[in-house]
Symmetry: C2
Subunit: 744 residues, 2 copies
Amino acid sequence: TIGPASSGFDRGENNDKFFTHPRNPKALAAYLFAHNHLFYMMELLTGVLLMVLSLCEAPAVPSLRLDVYVHATLELLALVMVAFELCMKLRWLGFHTFIRHKRTMVKTCVLLLQFVEAIVVLIRQTSHLRVTRALRPIFLVDCRYCGAVRRNLRQIFQSLPPFIDILLLLLFFMWSILYWSHTILSGVLSPQYFNTLENSIVSLFVLVTTANFPDVMMPAYSRNRWSCVFFIVYLSIELYFIMNLLLAVVFDTFNGVEKMKFKSLLLHKRSAIDHAFQLLVSRQRPMGVSLKQFDGLMRFYRPRMSSRDRFLTYKALNTAGAPMLSLDDFYKFYEVIGLKWKARRSGEHWFDDLPHTTFLIFKGDSYFFPSIFHPSNAVTRLFLISVLAPSPAGGFSWSRMVPWSYIIFLTIYGVEVLLKITGLGPLAYFSSGWNLFDFSVTVFAFLGLIALAFDMEPFYFIVVLRPLQLLRLFKIKQRYRNVLDTMFELFPRMASLGLTLIIFYYSFAIVGMEFFAEVVYPNCCNTSTVADSYRQINVTIGNRTVLDEGYYYLNNFNNILSSFVTLFELTVVNNWYITMEGVTSMTTHWSRLYFMTFYIVTMVVMTIIVAFILDAFVFRMNYSRKNKEPLLDPEGKSNGIVFEAEVSRDEALATLELYKKTCPGLSSLNSLQGVLLAMDRSGSSSLVYLGRRSRTKSDLSMKMYEEEIQEWYAEYSRENLPQSNRSLVGRELDIPPPCPEHES
Amino acid sequence: TIGPASSGFDRGENNDKFFTHPRNPKALAAYLFAHNHLFYMMELLTGVLLMVLSLCEAPAVPSLRLDVYVHATLELLALVMVAFELCMKLRWLGFHTFIRHKRTMVKTCVLLLQFVEAIVVLIRQTSHLRVTRALRPIFLVDCRYCGAVRRNLRQIFQSLPPFIDILLLLLFFMWSILYWSHTILSGVLSPQYFNTLENSIVSLFVLVTTANFPDVMMPAYSRNRWSCVFFIVYLSIELYFIMNLLLAVVFDTFNGVEKMKFKSLLLHKRSAIDHAFQLLVSRQRPMGVSLKQFDGLMRFYRPRMSSRDRFLTYKALNTAGAPMLSLDDFYKFYEVIGLKWKARRSGEHWFDDLPHTTFLIFKGDSYFFPSIFHPSNAVTRLFLISVLAPSPAGGFSWSRMVPWSYIIFLTIYGVEVLLKITGLGPLAYFSSGWNLFDFSVTVFAFLGLIALAFDMEPFYFIVVLRPLQLLRLFKIKQRYRNVLDTMFELFPRMASLGLTLIIFYYSFAIVGMEFFAEVVYPNCCNTSTVADSYRQINVTIGNRTVLDEGYYYLNNFNNILSSFVTLFELTVVNNWYITMEGVTSMTTHWSRLYFMTFYIVTMVVMTIIVAFILDAFVFRMNYSRKNKEPLLDPEGKSNGIVFEAEVSRDEALATLELYKKTCPGLSSLNSLQGVLLAMDRSGSSSLVYLGRRSRTKSDLSMKMYEEEIQEWYAEYSRENLPQSNRSLVGRELDIPPPCPEHES
């Protein structure tokens, strides 16, 4: 029963669907083969390889160009790998479930298509119009490590309906204003931008993005000063009202989606625990899970956990002290699983036992440094800034002269770091991100000084890190600490959002390359209104001749790197219409559709990024306000979650006996014997262990939605419990848990 | 006691400070003189006059130019008016309080300064550099009707500290990146934008606003393709991360400020009620407020309320049915004060008593119309859109031909409007905003048809309103209803925010005019990088000669209207640096400070507008989700607040007697006699009245913060009650309440 129960926990944690559960030993073997980091890595590499191939396929980056048969063969190879992965999946899912799993089905279809196309390319020895390459990111997105990207994509799609609703409202106002402008203002607006219906729509669309703003108004404004009213009204409604409404609606949906996601993950975990509990409770002992069973489960679920930690985890779950774990105890499983256990020390710091004077030095250290650099202490601050700020005067060559005050401050910081390391002990010191930052900044500063002193040219880049010293000042004020902590917390999520954006970029870049490669060049686009920006010509103004260089021909789709840069420029929005008009004038009017679609897609993604930052920040602020305790103590060490477990000598001995019986002749019991040794040393008959882990977003949410969670659970147990009991009948497998060979 | 008690309510409602309370009968006379709409209007007009004067002062709008002695005399006149208002205030505040009231003191100082300057102008017969005109909006902001603007300004100033903190973070990153760019990338970045320290800072600042984006990168990009990495990293950090953080921080502060504002207003109201209660409770009857006293208070506080409504309000407060109002009853004062009273009818609609068939028609009407235009009914929708959308084809002259389907739909709408008016009765029908909208759109459409039929050229503008018909489709979907309702709710607040923005514009425009008037002109700024935009010259390209018109010389500060347009363009941000660079090249480098300050100020205001829209929308959504009832019923009539009061015949008679004693020989008792008449007609011995009012933001907040409010009250009564008792000793005045002459 233990294998399936443990894999159930896996899926509970990863929010996989339960119907993808392996159903027989053969499937389980395939499942185990397909669920380890080697396999995941292979999936990831295949996906990356397929995407990277577009660097070498025509239109390729010049220095990376490969022959057709080379890149087509590489592609076929990668596709075969993907096919192999799919076959493994088919094996453990079974054909029926495989068909039902939507994402896998889409992947299969795309795979077949790509296969056919790759073979065609290999036969014809030349690339045809392969827009379907834009679908390649699917292989990357489907791989295990890209779960965050998948979640982002889901969130984006969930935010779409309200987004589109407001977009329609925006278009409606645009249309109305267009209608009014042409019945009332037909003589006033400049024919350059408003001569045809298409031009008018494009001009107004670009105006919402403000990219053509004063320019589109200027000709009309120079003829009639009151024409500015039209533009002011239009922008006030569309830009300042409806676009903000768009953000509000997405933000609101986003909040709702986040909450629902949290709810479903929570209920999913609970249901995983239910499943596992049902599997573990054997017919002989229907009341609960014994230590023996639990230990077997843990050896399977977390093979690298030491025997002591397994035992302590069991103790942490078993708060009532009963001989077995009840279902209610078991519900805390995910809360205690990540704990790091440590015996409770008598004092707070190791130096508490030292003589009084030494103690004072270390104690004072914690108060001395924050206070001399306190923001209210303006003299110190200004001094520090003036010292740390290397003067970039004199044509910006950074001075080799190091002011003496810089060395003094560096020494102070060095002493602080040393004191802290000795005071807290290296382990406690480096467990805090802020201390780590302090340490590395100080070390780099010293290295920079050494590089300067010995005139080592290649290491000058270290000197460049000097401005980081200023960040130290920021960490003193509570708001900056909050902001910077939020920044670090946001980082993984931001990275996954960035990856999502890159996947969109990739698809758009492929489409752009297929249609617009080599379309723009210097002095092209003479028929468009933006010809100036593409010009590269000698111009005579009065009696001077100058090179009029427009540079915009560089914003092209000639290879995937150029395309990415061009798309980034389109994302920044400013002057994006110049690229659009240039390409349009050299191709068809339908090209505008590409650019406008891209604008809207990036607007969605960017709005979601904004909503996400807003949400994370406001959530954190609310949370810290609700609990009236700062999330971090002044030392920068996070107040994590702490569990306690008291172990008596008798218990430890009994457990050791039990373990010896289940996995005899192993060195895996060292850690448990260590507990007994520690008891002997301190001379007490019991020892208290503390399990710590850092607070996660999920913990915060638990606290924020406390009331709702009770409702959800009530609702869930009303609906699901009888059913889950039924579905588990006849699914008991018995695989002996592997005994770990050694422990860390 | 009644006068002060009533004025106390006034200040409770308006959140004035209590120490500005009049202290003796003479002061009270001045207080009454200064607190009526005539006086407020005078204040407003004086403020507006002073601001409008800048249209006529040099540099004036050409058609409105006035001689120096004319506008200086007008200004002196307005200033004398302001001085008079201040004197009245001094009279009722007393000198001591006057000095303590900060806003009034600032106003006095500015007034004195303006007086001196106006006299100097009159003597010299020419305007000098009068930057202090930028302070004129103070007179407008101080007037009674601009309370919302004052609140906005306060909110903006309260949001400043966190805003500045994050701005510093932004500047720090800017500075670091500048430092790195000059040590590492010194050869790569183009000297056109990065040659000196000042230029680099300006370029990077403008880059954060994206206004110069691809252009600033292009020269470096054309030389080295990898230089784009610098710009991408810079924009990703500054624009996409820190700017969003800025929004998050302002949003968070905004939420906190809104909540605190609500709290302080709530406690202020409670304290006003405490004050009034203490004043009303005389020594003879220390237990509570009698009907007689309450009635006297109401005649003073709301002179236009009818005697019936005063009585019903008393009944609504007096839920326990005791002979007197206790303090707890009295706490509901602000909740019941705005109620509109109406006798409860037996049925819901008047047609409920009609025969069955007629009833069905009216009843069906409410279900028929929403359902045929349901969004899911795509055919109807598309048809309607195609019909209502007048084709702007054929060179955009709107067609005189009206499609027959348009007439059919208009007829259907006409019938709907008629049915609804007869069904609900005109009063109930027009009390809903959506019905009013339906009605006016239909009427305008008919008028448009008539104008077309009789070929009345000047009325064609009515036809232009046709696109509004489409809004009808939007009202069917719940989300649009929510959005549009929020839009209408936001409207007053948006208007006041707009006014706040205009006040900032005004000050900046004055400063701009004083320093930059007549600075830019065609073909100026040849030394700057933006010379092209100011060019108006014949250019030879190859062998063609074209007029190269840059138009940007139109964005000047030559008079206040031009300045406003220029400032709006700066607000929209796109290409704002062209105006900045142009002006800078013709004046000094310090001019940039003006433009950058303006950018930061508008950024603050705009961020607050975004935060405000976000807050209002999310609040509304949360509220409607929490209560699981839509804020509006399908008929579009808001589910307001409803209070009930049952009146028996004996009570009514007793009250009538009481009123006859206090204000005998008046026609003011009609409404109360009407109650008796209604009882006679229906033949019952008692009548139930319903008091309704629409739900305000304050009601929503009451519900949202339910738990916190109890805490606040507990805290408040712990702190304040003993003190407020003490401060009221010896302040009892007795002024007979005015008897209203007639009632509406």
